[in-house]
Symmetry: C3
C-alpha cells in the first residue's frame, strides 16, 4: 500500500499569485538560512546540560509534553489519561506509548490546517526524515522510524542545536531557580549560547497556591530573609543580578490584566504582610501585581534587563483538568484586555526612558490596532512582541502585521520568538514566521507600497535583527 | 429596451487567481449537490402542513416578512408603513403590493454587495427563473413573472422542499407550542423531514412582556401547575420530552450575555416567586437566565437534545419601531460579549461531559479568536456554530474560519445553518456557504497548508457531515 | 552616485492578480480626476486668507506641524526637542531646520509601509516633483529642491487649491472663533469654497483646562452673558447660526465615549453651575457631555447642520509630552468604545428623524461589524464616517469596508474625508482612498458579487457623491 507524502511545497504559505510568489520566494531565500534567535521559550535547560540527553520515544517527545496537541484531542472527547498525561495523584494513565501514538495518528485529521498540523508536517519530514504523511495504517512504522532516529547521536539536543543553526536560545526560569543546569552547561565547555530568563511570577502572585513556599525559597536562594516588602524587593534584585551574571538578558512577567499602579512602600508592605499571613484577597493580589510590574520596570532601567509582559490568559479555566493534571494542560483561556488605561501609570513613570525596553504580548487581538500599535508608535520604551500562543499561526501573523504595522511600523516590533517547550519544533516555527513574513512583505511590494530594496531590509530585520536588537543580544 | 442580466458567474465567490479558482471549483463541485441539512431556522411549519399552501404574491413572500430587506430600506428613510409592514394597532399601511415592489426595485441598489443582494440575485434567477436584473423599469414585469410561478404547483412548499434537496429542516418553536403543524405534517403522510426545536426563551425571560402569560400557557400545555421553580422545571422537562417525541433533536436559547450561574433551589425559587408577583428586577432576570442556561445543559445531558446558545443581541433597540410594529423588525443591535468568565460555571459543571453538545453563536466577532476558539479547542462539550445573522455573509464566513480555524480546527465547528424564515432563500444560502468554504479551503491548498485529499474531506464535512453529526441527525 | 526613485507604480495599491488589477484600474481611472470634497479637516484657514501665504521651509511645512511624523521618530528615541517642536515654556529646541531634516531623512526607513510613508512618497514626487527617494545622502539636496518650489507662486495655498482640484474644503473651528480668516477669504473675492465647521468641544468639556475662559469668550462673541445653562444653550445656538451664515454645513464633536443622556434642565444647570464654580467632577463632565451631544443633535434637526461625532481617543496619554509641548503631539491613544447602549438615548430621541444626519467615527474597529454597521443599517439618521486617524490607511480602509459593507451597505457611509492639517497631503490622501476603494470594488467584481456597472456607480459614490450628499454640499 502506498501512502501519501507530506504536503511540503517549497513555496508553502506564499500567495498563489505568481508575481507575489516570486517576490516572496526571493525574500524568503534571503533569510531562510539566517541563524535562529530564540529569545523567549520554555525548553528545559536540562536537555543541554547532559551531552547524552535523549528525548525518549516519539510519544514522550512529541505528545505527552505538548498541550497544543493533547488539548485538541481532548476537545474531541479523548481523555487525557488515554494520552498518558501523568496525573497529580499518580493514578493510572495509559503507559503503552505505541497505543497513544496510534490514537494520535487516528485523530491526526483534527490538526488539518492548524499550526500544529503545519509544524508537525515539517518536523516529521525535515527534522526526522519521515516522508509519509501520518495515517492510522502507517502509525507504528513511523513510530519505529522516529524511534530509530532518536537513538542516534545526531538527535542529541546539542547536536540538534548546531543543526538547527540556533545562535541564542533562552529558557524561562523561576526567580528562585538555582540555574544549576545553566551552570552545568557553562561548566561543560560546550559553546551553545543558552541563557536563562528571570520569571518571578511565582514570587509575585500572592494569591497563587504555593506563594509562601516560593517566598521561603526566595529567602534561601538569595540569603535575604524575606520578612517585609523592602527585603523582598532586595531579594528579587539580588536574583536578577545572579541571572544577569548567568547570561540572562531579559525578564518575563505574566498577568491576567495589564493593570499597573504605584503603591506607597507602606501600602505595598501592608499587602505583603497580609499575604504572608495568608489573608490577602483578590484585590490585594491585583494591586500588588500592578505595583510589582512597575517595580520590575524600575529594576530593568537599573540593570538593563529587557522586560517582557504577557497579558491576558486566564489560567486553569477547567479546574477538573488542573486538579487532576496540574497547570499548563491546554485549559488556559484568554480574556479581553485593556492596555491604554492599565499601562498609564507605568508609562508615565518609565515609558519615556529609552533605557527601558518593555515588550508587550497580547491574547486579545482587538487591542492590536486600537491600543498596542498606537502605544508602541509613541512611547520610546515600548516594543510589541510577536503573535503569541494561539496567534502564533499563519493567520495570526498576517493579522498581526496588518493590524499593527501601519501605526507602529516594523521597527517598534521585536521580531519573532517561538515560545515553545517543543525543542524539535523550533526551526520549523521560525521557518513559518520567515515564510509568512516574506509573503506579507511581498504583498507590499507587488501592491507598490514598498520597493524590493526596502523589503529585503525588512525581511532580514524581521527574521533576525529585530529580535537580536530588542533583546540586546 | 434591453435589461442587464443577473451577475451569476458559475465561479462566483471564488478567488480570481486561476490556481485557487481551479481548486475551489473542484471542491465546490464535489459538494454542490449534497442534500441540505438545515438544523436551525425559522420557517413556519404551517407552510408544510397544508399541501396546497401558497406564498401569496412576490411582496408578501419576499419583502413584508424579511427584516433583512426592509431594515435596509428603512435606514435610507423609507417608512415601514410604505413597505406594508403591519402595525400592531392595525393602523393604515400600504396595501398596494405592486407599489411596495416598485419601491423595493427603485432602491435595489442599496443591496449592492450585501448578502441580501447576493441571495436575491440567485433566488430570482435560480429559484424563480427571472433572468433580468431587477430595475425600476422592469419591476412590474418581474413581479408578474414571479407571481405566475408562485401560482404553480411547483412552487408549493413541499414541492420546493424536494427541489431544494433538503434532507432535514428544523423549525424553532416556543416551549408552549402544541406543535400542531408538526403533528399535521406527520399525520399527512408526507415524508419531508421537518423537526421542531425547543426554544423556551419566552418562558425563561422573566423580565419579558408576557412572561406570566407564557407561564400560564406552560401550565396548561404541560398539565403541571407552575407555582414554583421545581414545578416550572418539571413542566419544561415535560415539554422537552414532548418535543423530542415530535422529532426535535435540539433546543435553542438566546440571551443578551453568556452569563451562567448555579443558583440554589431556594434562590431560584425566590426569584421565580418575585417574577410571578411581577416584582423581579433586571438583576433577577440576569441571574435567573444564567441559572436556567445551566439547567438546560443539565437537561440536555439527560435527554440528549443538542443545546444551541445564541448570545449578544440587544433586542428592540428602537422602541419607536417595536412599539409600532413589534419585535424582529431589524432593530436588534449586537453588544460586546464575554464568554471566558461567563461560561465558566456552566463548563465547570458540564463542559467535560461528552454527552452534552453545546453549540455557541456570537454576534461579537472579537470573541472568535480570543475566547470562542480556545474554549471550543479545549472543552469536549463545545462546538462553535457558523457565523450568525449579520455575519452570515461572504466576509463573515471568511473571518470566521480565519479567526477560528487555527485554534479550534474544523471538527470543533458545527457546519452551516441558514437561520432563516425566508424559505425560498434556503438553497441559495447553503450554496453561498459551500462556495465560500470551498474557496477558503482552496486557499489553504494553494498555499501548501493542506493537501487536496484533506481539502475534499473538509469540504464535505463543512457542507454536510458536520451539521448532521453536531445535531445528531 | 545614483539614487533610487520613489516607488510609484501607476497600479499601486491594486491587487497583483491581473483580472482584478484590470478592473481596479478601470474603476480608478473613472474617478481619479473627480474634484475633491474635503468635508472634514484641520487646515488653518489663515493660509487662504493671505493670497501670498508661504509654507516656509520643508521642515516647517512637513515635519514640525505633523504629529504623524514626529511621533514615530519619538517612538524610536528621538527627542521632540531635536525635531524643533516648540516647548510651551519657550525652552530651547533645535532651530537648524536642515539638521532636523537630516534626522528625518536618516530615519525615513521607519515609515516603510506606513500611511505616512505612502503619503510622503506621492507628495514628494507628485506635489513637489522630487524624483529621488529620500536618503541620508540626498537629504540636503532634496531640501533645496522643495525649498525652491515653496518659494514660487505655484506653491501658494490658493494656487495649490486649484491644482489639487478641491471643490470644497472645510476647516474645524472653535465655537468661539470669530472666523476672521473665513471672513477675509470671502472679502478677498477669491472663489475657493472654504467653509468653517462648528466644533464646540472646548465649550462643552467642563473638565478641560481653560473651560471657564472658553465660556467667557462664548459670552463675548455671542453677546449673551453665559450665567446658566439656558443662556449657554442660547449662546451656542447663536454661534451655530453665525457659522451657518459663514458657510458651515456641519458641526463636529469629540468625546472619550459615545455616552448620551438627556438631563433635565435642572440637572444640567446644576452641573453647569458647579462647573462655573470650578467644582464639577469627572462624573459631572461625563454626564454633561452626554447631555450636550443630545442637545447638539436637537439643534442639528433645527438648523440642518450635519453632526459629526468622533469617539474614543484618550487625549494626552503622556503627560510628560503634553506638559512640555501641549496637546495633539501624537500621544492620544484609543480606548475600547461602546455604541449600542451609549447611543440609545440619542437614537431614541432623534435617530428616526431623517432631518438629522449624524456621522459616527470610531477608533475601535471591533465596533465596526458588531455595533456600527447594524446601527447604521437601521437608523435613518445615521451614517458611518470613513476610517479615522490611525485607520486612515490602506489596511484600515480594507478592514472598514470588509467589516461594514455587508451590513450597512455603501449608502449608509459618508465617503471620505482627509481629516488633515497637512495641506499638501490632501490630494494624495484622497488618491489613496480612491485607489483602495477601486481595488476593493474590483475584488467584488472579479468574485462575481457585483457587476461592473454597479461597481462604476459605487466607485463614483465613494470618491465624490457620498461625501457631497452626506454633508449636504
Amino acid at each position: 500500500m502506498s501512502h501519501p507524502a507530506w504536503n511540503l511545497s517549497p513555496d508553502r504559505f506564499f500567495s498563489p499569485e505568481p508575481s507575489q510568489r516570486r517576490v516572496a520566494r526571493m525574500l524568503y531565500e534571503s533569510v531562510a538560512d539566517l541563524p535562529i534567535i530564540a529569545p523567549h521559550g520554555h525548553v528545559d535547560p536540562r536537555v543541554f546540560a547532559d551531552p547524552d540527553y535523549s528525548f525518549g520515544d516519539p510519544t514522550e517527545m512529541l505528545i505527552i509534553p505538548d498541550h497544543y496537541i493533547f488539548r485538541m484531542l481532548y476537545s474531541r472527547g479523548i481523555p487525557l489519561e488515554a494520552l498518558g498525561i501523568p496525573r497529580r495523584d499518580g493514578g493510572p494513565v495509559e503507559t503503552d506509548h505505541r497505543r497513544i501514538w496510534q490514537i494520535f495518528a487516528d485523530n491526526f485529521y483534527l490538526f488539518r490546517g492548524t499550526p500544529t498540523g503545519v509544524w508537525l508536517a515539517a518536523e516529521f519530514s525535515e527534522v526526522f526524515g519521515v516522508e509519509e504523511k501520518l495515517t492510522s495504517e502507517n502509525a507504528q512504522a513511523i513510530y519505529d522510524q522516529i524511534q530509530e532516529k532518536l537513538a542516534t547521536p545526531e538527535f542529541r539536543p546539542r547536536a540538534l542545536f548546531e543543526r538547527f543553526n540556533i545562535e541564542t536560545l533562552t529558557t524561562t526560569d523561576a526567580a528562585t531557580d538555582t540555574l544549576e543546569y545553566h551552570q552545568a552547561i557553562r561548566a561543560s565547555g560546550w559553546r551553545g549560547d543558552i541563557r536563562p530568563t528571570f520569571r518571578p511570577d511565582a514570587a509575585v502572585n500572592i494569591d497563587a497556591e504555593g506563594w509562601r513556599d516560593e517566598i521561603r525559597r526566595l529567602g534561601e536562594v538569595s540569603g535575604i530573609e524575606v520578612t517585609d516588602v523592602a527585603r523582598y524587593i532586595r531579594a528579587l534584585e539580588q536574583r536578577r543580578a545572579f541571572f544577569k551574571e548567568m547570561g540572562a538578558v531579559a525578564t518575563d512577567h505574566a498577568a491576567l490584566t495589564a493593570y499597573t499602579e504605584r503603591l506607597s512602600l507602606r501600602e505595598a508592605d501592608a499587602i505583603f504582610q497580609r499575604a504572608l499571613a495568608g489573608r490577602a484577597d483578590a484585590e490585594d493580589a491585583r494591586r500588588f501585581t500592578g505595583h510589582m510590574i512597575m517595580e520590575m520596570a524600575r529594576m530593568s532601567i537599573e540593570d538593563g534587563l529587557v522586560m517582557q509582559f504577557h497579558v491576558g490568559a486566564l489560567r486553569d479555566h477547567n479546574p477538573l483538568i488542573s486538579q487532576r493534571f496540574g497547570p499548563n494542560m491546554g485549559a488556559d483561556i484568554p480574556v479581553q484586555s485593556e492596555f491604554t488605561r492599565n499601562l498609564k501609570p507605568l508609562l508615565y513613570a518609565y515609558g519615556n526612558d529609552a533605557r527601558l525596553t518593555l515588550i508587550l504580548f497580547t491574547l486579545d487581538e482587538s487591542a492590536y490596532s486600537r491600543e498596542l500599535a498606537p502605544l508602541a508608535g509613541h512611547y520610546p520604551a515600548l516594543l510589541l512582541g510577536p503573535p503569541w500562543w494561539f496567534h502564533d499561526s499563519i493567520n495570526g501573523m498576517i493579522r498581526y502585521r496588518n493590524l499593527v504595522h501601519e501605526t507602529a511600523g516594523l521597527y517598534n516590533t521585536a521580531g519573532f520568538n517561538d515560545d515553545t517547550r517543543a525543542y524539535p519544533s523550533i526551526p520549523v516555527r521560525h521557518d513559518v514566521w520567515r515564510r509568512v513574513e516574506s509573503n506579507w512583505l511581498a504583498g507590499l511590494v507587488v501592491r507598490g507600497i514598498i520597493d524590493e530594496a526596502d523589503a529585503r531590509d525588512m525581511a532580514r530585520a524581521s527574521a533576525y535583527e529585530l529580535a537580536k536588537a530588542a533583546y540586546r543580544l
